[in-house]
């Protein structure tokens, strides 16, 4: 009788831990966000990445977008980029490096509280243009800046 009691105790304890684990899972703040566009990030060609990210439409060049990056980057693993725009109603800003294994580096979805200037650091495999695509008022605009990379940052 004693052994079966032990078993029941053990079983109920195990069930208890499970319940706690499930509870903890529910309590963690919702870091489950909008679906990450895997297709766009895993694309190896910029056109495919752009199709997956923003659809078939191609952006028009705009002088109202500024891509600020160094002319020469000594280390391609860390290239500081600032995207700034005066376009109205900016919904998103995406950064592409056409020569990278995965051309889409980052995409930012902005709320209307945001000022339209974002700084980050990206990797560059070799000398290339950094391409910014801004979705403003439902339309796509683009600008680019050439960066000379002396040491590639995606090396194998």
């Amino acid at each position: 009788m004693d052994t079966s009691r032990r078993i029941i105790l053990k079983a109920s304890m195990a069930a208890g831990t499970l319940a706690v684990a499930a509870g903890a899972n529910l309590l963690t703040p919702s870091t489950v966000l909008a679906a990450w566009p895997a297709k766009a990030f895993k694309a190896t060609k910029i056109d495919v990445a752009m199709d997956a990210m923003t659809g078939k439409g191609r952006p028009t060049p705009s002088a109202d977008i500024k891509v600020e990056a160094p002319d020469i980057a000594e280390n391609g693993a860390v290239v500081s980029v600032k995207i700034k725009t005066t376009l109205p109603k900016v919904e998103s800003i995406s950064i592409y490096v056409p020569v990278n294994a995965f051309p889409l580096s980052a995409s930012y979805i902005l709320s209307n509280q945001m000022e339209t200037s974002i700084t980050g650091r990206i990797k560059m495999a070799k000398t290339a243009d950094i391409v910014a695509i801004v979705k403003s008022n439902g339309k796509l605009y683009t600008a680019k800046k050439g960066v000379k990379v002396t040491l590639g940052g995606c090396g194998g």
Partner: protein, 104 residues
């Protein structure tokens, strides 16, 4: 692995500035281990969410092309000193982190 981040939020007079750095390897999945010759599996942050008083202000979708220990800087309107700014992230291996700062 240390999953840490730093965040600064301050009132710059006309809006609120945020600077954040997340300590993360941002491994692309293309690099090879020099000793074994095997590929190092990709390990990178996929999404970063920035909230002001619980309201989403910026969502960052990141791929392996973002540098190691990613840095993020931006400004936004409609906040005041003492408000909370929360930044949380998830990576492709199910790791997550986040922290909250008060606007100073």
């Amino acid at each position: 692995m240390a999953r840490k981040m730093k965040i600064r939020a301050w009132d710059n007079g006309k809006s609120t500035s945020i600077k954040a750095i997340i300590f993360h390897p941002m491994e692309t999945g293309l690099r090879k281990d020099k000793k074994t010759g095997k590929k190092i599996p990709g390990h990178y942050i996929t999404e970063v969410k920035c909230e002001h008083n619980g309201k989403n202000i910026l969502t960052c979708l990141w791929g392996p092309g973002v540098s190691k220990n990613p840095f993020l800087s931006f400004s936004f309107n409609g906040a005041k000193k003492g408000d909370d700014v929360k930044i949380s992230w998830v990576d492709n291996q199910g790791g997550k982190g986040g922290t909250t700062a008060k606007i100073s």
